[in-house]
Symmetry: C2
Subunit: 496 residues, 2 copies
């Protein structure tokens, strides 16, 4: 224990976990440019001891050095709830080659906190978040000898795409919470601009896991003629109240950290403590369940016995319990929180997780969004007229054309049954083959939601076009990052 | 919005939820004696708007005015991990009358944060946490015309029993984190002292829900000859890693709140923000699941339309989303957090929840505790000899005699199979009738754990003595507070 810790009382126990928090704060306080914390590849990461207990540990977020490509749209983007981004960047990486008729592109949608770095490549050999799923040859879920894979950092993120940490066009200071509310559809609209710029008319597949499982559907909803097939893994057609609750608990921890400062922390101390708490909660929702019982069970951290103790007392009891991390599951969560708390932008977490909560493919929800858009349509033209930005030569995106032309849903007065609302919301996908994968041990996107999605899609078109795989992996929601054999196999078979 | 809020930027959205946190802090800062916050019956509670969405809302914690009775033990209590309390108080309340041969007493063990106030009575007409389960006549689960019901505030709690907020005998200042680590067995030892003082030799039943479901077993393990029957509702024989993770996330929020101050906040600002975060997480573990989907679904808070809006625009879209509580499930969690954050002592939450994590009835775990006790046995005598406290005339408790006489388990060298370890740990209960109730929708004490407890008990004695009820209520863990019909019915039938 450092003697500089102010509140340490001689008659009270020590709290190494609280000391660690204070050390992190002290270290950050001496750092000149705090905004760099998410730009640097973990250089600021506090070193902590390794987690005990073996198990598969996927790469969650990989803050990549700037080896991604960047697409800038100079046309304004009208967002679902009325915000407008006059221009925006999308960071992306690609693997494989686009074929001559540009018909082999797979757009890969990510989970909440992932970067565009799904797979290592010559420019960046860090393993990506789906490293073992993408590669050359038929051993991989997505064969890069056949397909051209595109992965983006989502709009709202912090790994190269425009988000709350990006400069506001008016004052070049970070947006902070001046950033507008975004939806899954908005994120996908931004991706469609990128696809347009690559000259790709139709995607071979719109594929994604977790939040990406929502986006794989949203992309096809916005542009049904431009998606040949959909892969939605551990996703949902609408977030349930328990998932909203779990993400709310995370946002609350962030927003009640005084360092969050209502979203304007970029020239001060970042809300590292709130981020750590949020990540601990998130980790529970990502894993938990059977694997933890097998891996951690009730094992506690033990101080190795000294030679003397070994020699004299074979029945030495285990260590007395401590209030700081003690059970291995606690050290694991603590480690996950420490790892993440300076790796990702707090505002990005707030905006992107909120966009997950808002996702709802039922017809009434889609109608509500359409009404919001209709109300704000004029903003885009105004913005264009009043804009001082010189525009690139890129054509108006197909999407911004569609804003005005989209046929609104016809209102149905009486309430329709629940599943029926979803089938009605998914009508634009009625002719697209879909692969859905669900995992029984998932507590964040419960299995019933993938089944509901499959059933609703089947009711709205040829049932044979919908393939539904139910997996029994013990890893919970994160199975999509780990189970190359089953998840990968299902994808490979579907893409043939 | 108040103009006194320092960080409000004119070009950024308002955050009423952050304002509320800051208002609470400002209010507490002006309050002279902050320790009173848990003694006063919610007088300091911040008023917030009512939660929308109907549903059964049990009384979780009832900080009662001092209408409970108090038992003081002047004999030292040796704790499992070596701590010693030279003396301690146990707050308790009773209902019904003790019969002549003192054979009709039911000791009711509570959940984590409950007080002794299980039921209203002439001294305190506030509804108790099990109000509808206890009362005169055969309509109630526990008939007070037949039984004498005793409910205590647990050791480590803050509603009248000795805990971290109680004065340390050396300096009369609150223990804070100088309070020793306690276990479920320690809490039960303290209860047995009370039972001794009431002259009760044998309990008609040791009954409890949630944490109390652990204690109902622990009480019989310590004193198998003194328990006629056991009722364990939504409990477990050992906490699983997911439950530990969920409680760890709560403790982390508390311990990383700077106001926690390593446990010494009693003359300063309490960690009200950490408490609110912790309670939000706890509420997810208490409820969630099917009832939330039915009750809150994806409903959002709506601003009522003005008359003008009503008249002019029937298709007015819903409100734009907000980052502060927005979905009804969010307002619900926010409300639960606000309600609780000044109602319960943060250190009590840390110590009592840790004691839940430590509960493990497998033989190796019990052996480990026995070794710890053996190591520390001499502390009690030392304490007695060195004590300046004048002792009351109460006899040495049966328990403190047993400390020295208990036959230690014989170590078995090779690892025994999992369930077998539990059966071996539960041998002292081999002749006691047991009622176990489990709820399928419980995510905190998963149903499989109640089944495991039932199976392990059945293997260790006459299987017929173990009754196991599986319930399908949609309320998750909290079903035991709500479902008078099924939970109550099963208890009533078992007690006949």
């Amino acid at each position: 224990m450092s003697s500089s810790i102010p509140h340490q009382r001689p008659d009270a126990p020590s709290f190494p976990c609280v000391d660690a928090n204070e050390s992190r704060a002290a270290k950050l306080a001496t750092q000149a440019n705090k905004l760099t914390f998410i730009k640097q590849n973990n250089q600021n990461q506090v070193k902590i001891e390794d987690v005990e207990g073996e198990g598969p540990e996927p790469v969650y977020a990989t803050p990549t050095p700037a080896t991604y490509q960047s697409f800038t749209s100079h046309y304004p983007l009208l967002l679902d709830y009325g915000g407008v981004l006059p221009n925006f960047d999308i960071a992306y990486e690609t693997w494989g080659s686009l074929n001559q008729d540009k018909s082999n592109a797979i757009l890969l949608h990510t989970g909440l906190s992932a970067s565009s770095h799904a797979k290592s490549h010559p420019g960046n050999d860090t393993p990506g978040w789906w490293e073992r799923f993408i590669g050359p040859g038929s051993d991989y879920a997505i064969d890069t000898e056949k397909f051209f894979v595109i992965c983006t950092n989502v709009l709202g993120g912090c790994y190269g795409s425009t988000g709350p940490s990006s400069p506001h066009p008016e004052d070049s200071k970070p947006y902070g919470t001046r950033f507008p509310i975004i939806t899954q559809f908005d994120m996908v609209r931004a991706q469609w601009r990128l696809i347009d710029s690559l000259g790709i008319h139709k995607l071979y597949a719109s594929a994604g896991c977790s939040m990406g499982g929502m986006q794989s559907i949203a992309a096809a909803h916005l542009e049904p003629e431009r998606v040949r097939s959909i892969i939605s893994i551990s996703g949902t057609a609408r977030s349930g109240s328990t998932a909203v609750a779990m993400r709310f608990a995370q946002r609350s921890c962030l927003m009640s950290d005084p360092n969050w400062n209502r979203g304007f922390y970029y020239d001060g101390m970042p809300p590292h403590t709130g981020m750590k708490m949020a990540r601990q909660i998130a980790t529970i929702t990502y894993r938990s369940g059977p694997e933890w019982e097998q891996r951690f069970s009730r094992k506690r951290r033990v101080t190795p016995l000294s030679d003397d103790e070994m020699a004299t007392n074979v029945n030495n009891p285990g260590d007395a319990p401590k209030l700081c991390p003690d059970f291995l599951i606690e050290t694991y969560l603590d480690h996950q929180g420490e790892q993440f708390c300076l790796k990702y932008d707090a505002n990005s977490l707030i905006y992107v997780s909120k966009a997950m909560d808002l996702f709802d493919m039922t017809k009434p929800a889609l109608m509500d969004i359409d009404q919001h858009r209709k109300r704000n349509e004029n903003k885009v033209n105004k913005e264009l007229l009043g804009s001082k930005t010189s525009h690139s030569m890129e054509p108006p995106s197909l999407d911004s054309v569609q804003v005005n032309n989209r046929k609104p849903y016809i209102s149905t007065a009486p309430a329709v049954p629940y599943a029926q609302e979803l089938t009605e919301g998914l009508t634009r996908l009625s002719k697209i083959p879909v692969l859905i994968i669900g995992v029984h041990s998932d507590i964040l996107f419960p299995f019933d939601q993938q089944r509901e999605l499959a059933d609703s899609l089947r009711k709205g078109g040829d049932p044979e076009r919908v393939k539904f795989f139910a997996l029994d992996g013990p890893w919970g929601h994160d199975t999509f990052l780990i189970d190359t054999s089953n998840v990968g196999g299902a994808i490979r078979g579907f893409l043939i």
